[in-house]
C-alpha cells in the first residue's frame, strides 16, 4: 500500500506540472483559437529565469516565483503583438507553423547564448522527508503538487469570474459579438498570451528543480502539456488540470506495474485511445447533443 502511495505521489507531482503547462496552452487556445507550440519554450525560459534568480544571482527563492511569471508573460504578450498580430488574418496553418518555429528559435537562442548541457537548480526546500506509515514525502514534493494545483484553480477562477476572463470567454464564443459588447480584440488577445506565458513561466519555475534547465525541457513540456490538453479537452480549463494529473499518474503506474520502459509510451497510447473514443476529450466544457 505504501508503495502504491509513493507511485501515486510521484505521478501527482509530475501531473501537477503537466496540468500547469496544459492550462497555459488551453487558455491561449480558448481565447484566440491558436495552438501555441512555443509554449514549451516559454516554460524553458521560465526555468532559466529561476536558475538566474536562485543560482546565478543568489536571490531568495520566492523571488523566482514572483518575478518569472510576469516576465515570461510580457515576453509572450510582446510576441503576440510583434509576430502573431500581423498574422491574425492568415490561415490556421500559417499561425501554427509560426508558433512551431518561434519555439525552435527561442530554444536555439537559449542554447547559443548559454552553451551547456544542463543547469541544475536546487529545490526551494531542503531537509529530510516526512514519513507517514512508510510513505515518504518531501516538502518540495508537497510544494510542487499543492502550489501548482492552487495556481491552476486560481487561473480557472480568474477566467470564470474576472473581467478579462469574461472577455476571453466571450471572444472564444463569438468574436463579433464580443466586439459589439465593447471588448477589444487586441487587448483580450494580448492578455490571453500574457496569461498563457505567465502560466508557462510558472510551470518552468516549478519544473526547474525537478528536471533541471535544458533545451530538451522545451520539448518535454510542450509534449506533456499538449497530450494533457487533448486528454482533458482542449476547450476546458478543468479538463486541462484533470488531464495533466491523469497523464502523470498513468505514466507512473504504468512504469511501476507494467514496465519501466513503458513510461513515455503510455502518454501516446492514452492520447490515441482518447482521440479514438472521445475526440472532444474526457472533460469537455461543451456538451455534444444528438439532433
Amino acid at each position: 500500500m505504501a508503495e502504491l502511495a509513493l507511485v501515486l505521489i510521484a505521478g501527482a507531482k509530475f501531473g501537477a506540472i503537466y496540468a500547469l503547462a496544459a492550462l497555459g496552452l488551453v487558455v491561449v487556445h480558448k481565447a484566440t483559437k491558436t495552438v501555441n507550440f512555443a509554449h514549451g519554450a516559454f516554460a524553458m525560459l521560465g526555468a532559466f529565469s529561476s536558475y538566474l534568480v536562485v543560482v546565478h544571482w543568489q536571490w531568495p527563492y520566492w523571488m523566482a516565483y514572483v518575478l518569472t511569471p510576469p516576465l515570461i508573460g510580457v515576453v509572450a504578450a510582446l510576441i503576440e503583438f510583434l509576430i502573431l498580430r500581423p498574422l491574425r488574418r492568415a490561415d490556421m496553418f500559417t499561425v501554427v507553423i509560426a508558433t512551431v518555429f518561434l519555439g525552435i528559435a527561442l530554444s536555439e537562442a537559449f542554447r547559443l547564448t548559454y552553451n551547456t548541457e544542463l543547469l541544475a537548480v536546487p529545490g526551494m526546500f531542503v531537509g529530510m522527508p516526512f514519513v507517514f506509515h512508510g510513505v515518504f514525502m518531501t516538502q518540495e514534493t508537497l510544494w510542487v503538487i499543492a502550489g501548482a494545483l492552487v495556481i491552476c484553480v486560481a487561473c480557472v477562477l480568474l477566467f470564470r469570474y474576472g473581467r478579462l476572463g469574461r472577455g476571453m470567454r466571450a471572444m472564444a464564443s463569438n468574436v463579433r459579438g464580443a466586439q459589439l459588447c465593447g471588448y477589444s480584440v487586441d487587448r483580450v488577445y494580448m492578455f490571453a498570451w500574457f496569461l498563457g506565458g505567465a502560466m508557462a513561466g510558472l510551470a518552468g519555475v516549478f519544473v526547474a528543480p525537478v528536471s533541471g534547465v535544458s533545451v530538451e525541457l522545451s520539448i518535454a513540456i510542450i509534449s506533456a502539456g499538449f497530450v494533457a490538453g487533448v486528454i482533458g479537452g482542449f476547450d476546458s480549463l478543468k479538463g486541462a488540470i484533470l488531464g495533466g494529473l491523469l497523464l502523470g499518474v498513468s505514466e507512473s503506474l504504468a512504469a511501476a506495474y507494467v514496465s519501466s520502459a513503458l513510461k513515455n509510451c503510455i502518454s501516446f497510447l492514452l492520447l490515441f485511445v482518447v482521440l479514438m473514443w472521445r475526440p472532444e476529450g474526457l472533460f469537455p466544457e461543451t456538451v455534444a447533443r444528438r439532433v
Binding site: A10, T116, E117, A120, P122, V210, E216, S260, K263
Partner: protein, 401 residues
C-alpha cells in the same frame, strides 16, 4: 615490323620506370593531404541529449590541434578539423559520408558515442578510411576487427563491466543485492549486456530496471529496488539521469545505498543536481579528474581560455579524451616518416607504443595508448573515482582484468 619478346619486356620496364617517377606526385594527392594541411574529419552531437559527449569532443580536439599547429604542425603541415554535428544514426551516417566523399578527409574521428559509431561502422569498414572511435563502447564498431578502425580511451564493455562491479566491493563493502538501472538507448544497453554477463558468471544477485533517454522520474524503478531489498545500485546512463535518480532515491528514503555510475555519468555536473554527492563512485577514463593535479588544472585553464567561459560540468571525461586522442593521431602521422598515404598511416598507427600528448609536448591528461597489428584497442585502463567533499577524485587505476 614484327616485335619480339625482348621489345615487350623493354616496354614494360619503361612503363614501370615511368610509373615510379609519377608515384611521388600521386602520393601527394592522398585524400585530405595538401602541401600545407592535413584534414581530419569528425562527427559528434553538438545539440540534444548527447551533446555532453560531442561538444567536448570538438572542443578537446580543437585545443590539441591549436597547440600542435602552434608548434609548427605535423610533417610541415597544419592539422585542420572539419567537425560535423550528428546526433541520430541517420545524421551520423550522412555526416560521415559527407566528410569522406565530399570533404575527402585524411582520417575520420567518431566523437559521437555508441549511437553514431554503430551507424557509421559498416560504411567506414567498407571504404577503409582510417577511423578513430573515441567514445563508442558498442561492439558494433569493434567487431569484426577491421584494419582501419582504432579505439582509444573508452575500453571495451567486457573490460568496463568487471571494473564497474568491482567498485561495489571497494573499502570492504559487501553488496547483498545490486540494482542495475539502465537507459534503453545504445550505449547503456551495450554496457548492460556485459554487466549482466559478468553478474551471472559471478553468481551475484541483481535486479534490473530501465528508463528512456532524458528521463527525469525514476520513482517506479526505485520503488521496485526498495521492494527487492537492493542495497547497491549501478546506473548506466548520463550524468543528468543518474543525478535525478539519486536525488529521488533520497526523497524516497533510500539511505545507505552504494551508488556506482558508468563513466558517462562521472561528471562535475552531477554534484549540483544531487547536492551532497560524497561517496558516489564510478569509473573515469583518464588517470586524474579535472582539478585533481597541476596537469589537469593547466588543461582546464587552457580550455577555459579557448572557450571564453567554462560551461557547467566541464571539462569532462570527453574533453580530456578528445585532447589526448588528437595527439595520438598526430603521433601516428609523424610515425609515417611523412610519407602521407593511408597505408603508411595505418601501419604507423598499428605500431604506436605509449602514444599521447606527452610525446609532442602536450598535457598528459589521458592514459597512453598502444596498438598492434591485431589489437586496435589503445587503452585498457580505467580510473576508479569517488566524490569527496563535492569533488570527484581518481583513487586507483583499474588494470585490465
Amino acid at each position: 615490323m614484327r616485335r619480339g619478346p625482348l621489345h615487350r619486356i623493354a616496354l614494360a620496364l619503361a612503363a614501370a620506370a615511368l610509373a615510379s617517377t609519377v608515384a611521388p606526385s600521386a602520393m601527394a594527392q592522398e585524400a585530405g593531404v595538401s602541401d600545407t594541411e592535413i584534414t581530419i574529419g569528425a562527427i559528434g552531437a553538438l545539440t540534444g541529449p548527447i551533446a555532453f559527449i560531442g561538444t567536448p569532443g570538438r572542443d578537446g580536439m580543437t585545443l590539441a590541434i591549436d597547440e600542435i599547429n602552434a608548434k609548427g604542425g605535423v610533417c610541415g603541415r597544419k592539422l585542420k578539423l572539419n567537425f560535423e554535428h550528428a546526433s541520430t544514426p541517420a545524421e551520423s551516417l550522412a555526416a560521415v559520408k559527407k566528410l569522406v566523399e565530399q570533404d575527402k578527409v585524411f582520417a575520420l574521428v567518431l566523437a559521437s558515442g555508441s549511437t553514431g559509431a554503430a551507424a557509421a561502422a559498416d560504411y567506414v569498414r567498407q571504404v577503409g578510411v582510417p577511423t578513430y572511435n573515441l567514445y563508442g563502447s558498442t561492439p558494433i564498431i569493434r567487431e569484426p576487427f577491421s584494419k582501419n578502425v582504432f579505439h582509444g580511451a573508452i575500453v571495451p564493455v567486457e573490460v568496463a563491466a568487471p571494473g564497474l562491479i568491482g567498485l561495489f566491493y571497494d573499502d570492504g563493502h559487501k553488496p547483498q543485492k545490486i540494482g542495475v538501472l539502465a537507459g534503453t538507448y545504445a550505449f547503456p544497453q551495450a554496457t548492460l549486456k556485459a554487466v549482466e554477463a559478468h553478474l551471472k558468471s559471478k553468481k551475484i544477485d541483481y535486479a534490473l530496471e530501465q528508463f528512456d533517454q532524458s528521463a527525469r522520474d525514476f520513482t517506479s524503478q526505485l520503488v521496485s529496488f526498495g521492494r527487492q531489498k537492493v542495497d547497491s545500485v549501478l546506473i548506466l546512463g548520463s550524468f543528468s539521469e543518474a543525478g535525478f535518480a539519486i536525488k529521488q532515491a533520497r526523497e524516497l528514503g533510500m539511505a545507505n545505498i552504494r551508488w556506482v555510475l558508468d563513466g558517462s555519468a562521472v561528471s562535475r555536473a552531477i554534484v549540483p543536481i544531487i547536492g551532497n554527492a560524497d561517496g558516489i563512485r564510478g569509473y573515469f577514463n583518464n588517470p586524474a579528474f579535472p582539478g585533481q593535479n597541476d596537469t589537469v588544472r593547466e588543461f582546464e585553464a587552457r580550455l577555459k581560455k579557448q572557450l571564453g567561459s567554462m560551461p557547467q560540468g566541464r571539462p569532462n571525461n570527453y574533453d580530456m579524451i578528445a585532447y589526448g586522442s588528437t595527439y595520438v593521431i598526430a603521433d601516428a602521422i609523424t610515425g609515417t616518416g611523412c610519407q602521407l598515404t593511408r597505408d603508411k598511416f595505418l601501419a604507423s598507427w598499428s605500431s604506436l607504443k605509449n602514444a599521447g600528448p606527452k610525446t609532442m609536448g602536450g598535457l598528459d591528461v589521458s592514459f597512453p595508448e598502444s596498438f598492434t597489428e591485431t589489437d586496435h584497442q589503445g587503452n585498457y585502463r580505467l580510473g576508479a573515482a569517488v566524490v569527496k567533499n563535492g569533488e570527484w577524485q581518481v583513487y586507483r587505476v583499474i588494470e585490465r582484468p
